[in-house]
């Protein structure tokens, strides 16, 4: 009898605990952030913004290395010399006040802002700029390649930096790159071990500094009192970034006010959020596009007619409508709309199964009967839908499309297989700019390469190479002319139907209506410059 009593008491106690804990739940736990109540300090509530992220906040805390969404945070901690406004094609001076370049595009002079302090208390000068960029080049990871044109960096005085280039290049675009263009404190970098940054430290000039973090999970930023722009007006005191991998969870957090800003919701979610009066939905153009690559080194896609047939068989409208919920536009060539060098007059393939049939017949496949393999990044719901819709159309041509969602690394290795026959037939991939130039699209994706990196069409066309390279050299001298030349190159790519130009994506921003001052900049994908934001 004694035993049974003990067990019962234990269970009862447990239940009581659970009940008491849940009963007082709603008051304590999911309080709306920042505006909420139960905090120890009563004087003035610090303003906090909460960002729910899809993946780990910062992959590598070294600003020279980070080459993924971590720049969302780093751009609030570090600053670049300039910030590019692609929609107006202008530059906002940040750490540099102004700049000039020689006519041949080989010498670029930047003047550095006076009185800027790093978070470690030291002051910004031309040496720091030189040090930062040389450090990035030396480490050679991430997006360090953007500095390839740089021959040497000179610092004639404390506030002047001169770049001497190997070949003409648009340095203003390079120094304002979203990646690998951050300026760090030399004092902090030199007095600490090499992996000091990677271990989760920072030494930038940005408006916010790192308060604390749990690696791979969350980051808390707090305002840097000595920020050079000062703290007049309304600003946030703290920013809280948290990884919330489930789409549904991020949406629910946003709806309940547990998050202020989130990304990568499905179009169905966005549709549902429209009814919520507390949530703002902003549709912005972006420089991110979805491209399909045909394996031109393998039967049957080495045949231009087959490639064109497959281009006509693609359900562009359905994909935009159902896979993207309308938040995209069918692409015209590989360079997205809004970016200089985009060809508005380029030819566009349209969904036309009859035409596709004709072309297939011409190519010698009147009854279809092909088997193709398409790969995409596993876990990407949109790419998955794209593939499924495409498969359904190709089935009508008696072409069997096998779809394989693969982790990026394995998909990549498959595409780099030595034997072209081992590779996939169609490779789906997003591309977005590092430096805001058409060359990042054309060179990486369609230029011949000594080794396969991202040229998944496997084209080796010297004529096309030359068109692109000439255009790039021109970019450091006369951007308008260069843009024309880039369009010429794309004409050839489109005509050859090297791949599917699926859509240019819109970034749909979903955030709490009380978050004000947020402005999307497609050159800095997903970055929120929190200094400009405030809560109302």
């Amino acid at each position: 009898m004694k035993q049974i009593k003990q067990v019962m008491v234990l269970i009862a106690g447990l239940l009581a605990l659970a009940v008491s804990v849940t009963a007082c739940g709603p008051g304590a736990s999911p309080t709306p952030t920042g505006t909420g109540s139960p905090t120890p300090s009563t004087t003035s509530m610090p303003q906090v913004a909460v960002v729910a992220l899809l993946s780990i906040p910062v992959t590598d805390w070294d600003p020279a290395v980070e080459f993924s969404n971590g720049v969302m945070i780093l751009h609030n901690v570090y600053e670049t010399l300039l910030r590019y406004e692609p929609l107006e094609d202008t530059f906002t001076p940040v750490l540099a006040t102004d700049y000039t370049h020689s006519d041949d595009g080989l010498t670029w002079t930047f003047h550095i802002r006076q009185g800027v302090k790093f978070h470690d208390g030291t002051e910004l000068n031309s040496e720091a700029v030189k040090f930062s960029i040389e450090r990035t080049i030396k480490i050679g990871k991430g997006a360090a390649f953007i500095w390839d044109p740089v021959d040497k960096i000179e610092t004639p005085d404390k506030l002047t930096v001169v770049f001497k280039l190997k070949y003409p290049a648009p340095m203003d675009l390079i120094v304002s790159s979203a990646y690998a263009a951050f300026i760090v404190s030399p004092a902090a970098a030199q007095s600490n071990p090499d992996d000091w940054f990677t271990q989760g430290h920072e030494a930038g000039t940005g408006p916010y500094k790192l308060e604390s973090q749990k690696m791979g999970e969350e980051v808390i930023l707090t305002k840097f009192d000595d920020y050079w722009k000062g703290w007049q007006g309304k600003h946030f005191d703290k920013i809280y970034y948290k990884k919330v991998p489930e789409n549904a969870s991020r949406r629910q957090m946003l709806e309940k006010g547990d998050a202020d800003w989130t990304m990568e919701l499905t179009s169905e979610d966005i549709e549902a959020l429209k009814a919520n009066p507390n949530i703002a939905i902003e549709v912005n153009s972006s420089f991110e596009n979805l491209l399909g690559f045909f394996n031109t080194e393998k039967e049957p896609l080495n045949n231009k007619l087959v490639r064109q047939a497959l281009s006509y068989a693609f359900p562009y409208e359905d994909v935009v409508k159902y896979a993207m919920g309308g938040y995209a536009e069918q692409a015209k060539g590989p360079v997205p709309k809004g970016l200089w060098g985009h060809g508005d007059d380029l030819f566009q393939y349209n969904y036309d199964l009859e035409k596709a049939k004709d072309l297939l017949a011409q190519a010698g496949y009147p009854d279809g009967g092909l088997k193709l393999l398409a790969t995409y990044n596993s876990g990407d719901e949109t790419e998955k839908k794209v593939c499924e819709l495409y498969k359904s159309e190709l089935a009508k041509l008696n072409i069997e499309l096998e779809i394989r969602g693969m982790p990026w690394e394995t998909q990549w290795e498959l595409a780099k297989a030595t034997n072209p026959d081992d590779r996939q037939d169609i490779f789906f991939m997003y591309w977005w700019p590092d430096v805001t130039t058409p060359y990042t699209y054309l060179f990486n994706l369609y230029h011949s390469q000594p080794e396969i990196v991202f040229n998944f069409n496997y084209i080796n066309d010297p004529e096309l190479d030359k068109l692109m390279d000439d255009a790039n050299l021109q970019a450091g001298i006369d951007r308008a002319k260069a843009a024309q030349m880039f369009v010429e190159a794309q004409k050839k790519i489109v005509d050859e139907a090297y791949g599917l130009f699926v859509y240019d994506k819109n970034y749909v921003r979903t955030f709490n209506k009380s978050l004000k001052g947020y402005k999307d900049n497609p050159s800095y994908p997903h970055v929120i410059f929190f200094y400009d934001c405030y809560r109302e």
């Binding site: 549904a248 169905e268 159902y322 819709l389 394989r404 982790p407």
Partner: protein, 299 residues
């Protein structure tokens, strides 16, 4: 977690009609087990007849109908439609076939690896036994799901590879089970007799020992089916199993995560399908274990 039946359990199990009848009689005592047995037969029937009974046959292969996406359950679509307008009922029904096929293939393959290894180890003894069993130990010290995930990830995601991965995670259990049997078999009269008249070792192992030890392993394997189905679904959930647009339940649940706030039916039906299938297989397995284990067997 699996509790392997003790070796002696199977001394009694001989594939005789009477044994089957007796087992059935004992199972019949527990109504819940009996319901499960009937459901298992029903599921097998559904799996076999799937192509005939699905209302939207094209939706299980390549067809899409995005205009009708995410419709709630109705008369035309009993379980509603998914994000590309496909009939979820058809896909769930067809998924029965895929799940059962995958599970059977995985367990079959695990048996194909595990049984000969175990028989050879047990029948040969000595160094061969040591080596085989130490390798088995190594594989047994991976948590099975982790091992399956690892292998599926390394082989690349596909249903076939998921099946292979599960087989690799499962075979050591069978090796261990059959080895125990084979060891006891080694000294039996008929084996000695066979050896005495110069039968080659290979023939003794596969001609005498395997046929006489296979019954318990088959029983064990049938008890494992539920766990295997769940593991396969978990792999697909992680994106390491079936590929779209295959109507595999785990994959459907995984995809539905993105839509379940707007379309609860999309998650609930494939999830229920997994649950019910695994449940009835486990219930039957549990019932079988109770009935076949001499320690709990009661007439």
């Amino acid at each position: 977690m699996r509790k392997l039946l003790p070796v002696e359990t199977f001394e009694a199990i001989k594939p005789r009609l009477k044994e089957f009848k007796l087992t059935f009689y004992l199972l019949n005592r527990n109504r819940l087990t009996m319901i499960a047995v009937i459901t298992v037969f029903l599921l097998v029937l559904i799996a076999i007849l799937a192509p005939l009974i699905v209302p939207y046959k094209e939706h299980v292969i390549s067809g899409t109908n995005p205009q009708e996406k995410l419709l709630p359950p109705s008369q035309e679509h009993l379980f509603g439609t998914d994000e590309l307008g496909r009939d979820i009922f058809s896909r769930v029904i067809y998924g029965t076939r895929i799940s059962l096929e995958t599970a059977l293939a995985a367990v079959g393959l695990a048996l194909l690896i595990g049984v000969p290894l175990g028989a050879i180890a047990g029948a040969t003894g000595g160094v061969v036994d040591e080596v085989i069993m130490r390798i088995t130990d190594i594989f047994l010290s991976f948590p099975p799901l982790l091992l399956a995930i690892l292998i599926a990830a390394f082989l690349g995601p596909s249903l076939t590879n998921a099946m292979l991965a599960i087989a690799v995670a499962w075979w050591p259990w069978y090796t261990r089970l059959i080895r125990g049997q084979a060891v006891s078999m080694r000294e039996r009269q008929f084996v000695r007799a066979a050896r005495a008249i110069g039968t080659p070792h290979f023939k003794i192992v596969f001609g005498h020992i395997v046929p006489n030890t296979i019954a318990p392993v088959i029983v064990q394997a049938s008890m494992d089916l539920g766990g295997v189905i769940l593991t396969a679904a978990s792999l697909s959930f992680l994106g390491l199993g079936a590929q779209p647009p295959t109507p595999e339940w785990g994959l459907m649940v995984s995809t539905s995560r993105n839509y379940f706030l707007n379309a609860w039916w999309y998650s609930i039906f494939p999830g229920l399908a997994i649950f019910i299938t695994v449940l009835v297989f486990n219930l039957v397995g549990d019932g079988l274990r109770e009935v076949l284990d001499p320690r709990t067997r009661k007439y």
